[in-house]
Symmetry: C2
Subunit: 151 residues, 2 copies
């Protein structure tokens, strides 16, 4: 496929309480190399809702090259999530994934965001995120109990 | 139940690439109030493995009041995860949950860590974490597509 055949890339926006979105992007960048077309929006407790909506909107504008935006948010039901929902206004393809964690970002750093739509990427990383949540004992068979429990 | 009947609290340690663990703890504290007996260990790309093990061990010692430790880590298979595994040495009850996200911490901020064991807490927040990963369109029925896709 020539570069001429390739469309614009889907943008990524991470919206979190506090600075964890920026940390997640930085961590993904350290592990996989810089994540392009991505922005983090950190929200503080007392930020005005309209201001948060404006900042999330500006971040979407910055990263959207014409293929839409995938928004990752830390928890649903929060005002941060409501601000993300305000982006679902029909002006561009948008999907939101709640419960962001680092394995999702590592996956997004490796998929071809020029050939997937936001909705398909969201379905993919929803599964990646869920699968990444594992117990150490499941992965290794090692269990550490209190000495008294071992009897 | 009198306070005399209550045992020590299970400690929490969050181990992440970069500073997201500290941000997650701060965010949970802002939402639910301070999370007690909890520590974050941030690991940089070039940190020595033995140093990471030592720091995770020190954090476990700090938060463990005698009931053991629940360790949350961002991704399994990483050297951070290996450092967490080094804590599973039989000296205390320990369980590890991979794929940490904020909903897990919010749950941990509200459970009674004096009556649950690390393994039970891990099972609980594994499910909480998985359930928290949802799509915006699932939660609201709202979908935003590209104008051209709507035909």
């Amino acid at each position: 496929m020539s570069t001429l055949d390739r469309g614009p890339s889907v943008g990524l926006v991470i919206v979190t309480h506090g600075g964890s979105g920026e940390c997640l992007l930085a961590a993904a960048g350290e592990i996989c190399g810089p994540v392009g077309n991505a922005a983090a929006v950190g929200v503080r407790n007392h930020d005005e809702f309209t201001d948060v909506v404006r900042r999330v909107g500006r971040a979407c504008d910055e990263v959207d090259g014409g293929a839409g935006v995938l928004i990752l948010v830390d928890i649903h039901g929060s005002s941060e999530f409501q601000a993300c929902l305000a982006m679902v206004d029909g002006s561009r393809p948008v999907e939101i994934v709640c419960g962001v964690n680092l394995p999702m970002l590592l996956k997004l750093a490796t998929v071809d965001r020029q050939v997937m739509r936001p909705a398909d990427m969201a379905e993919l990383i929803k599964e990646v995120g869920k699968r990444s949540i594992r117990l150490g004992s499941e992965l290794t068979g090692k269990i550490s109990m209190h000495p008294e429990e071992r009897r």
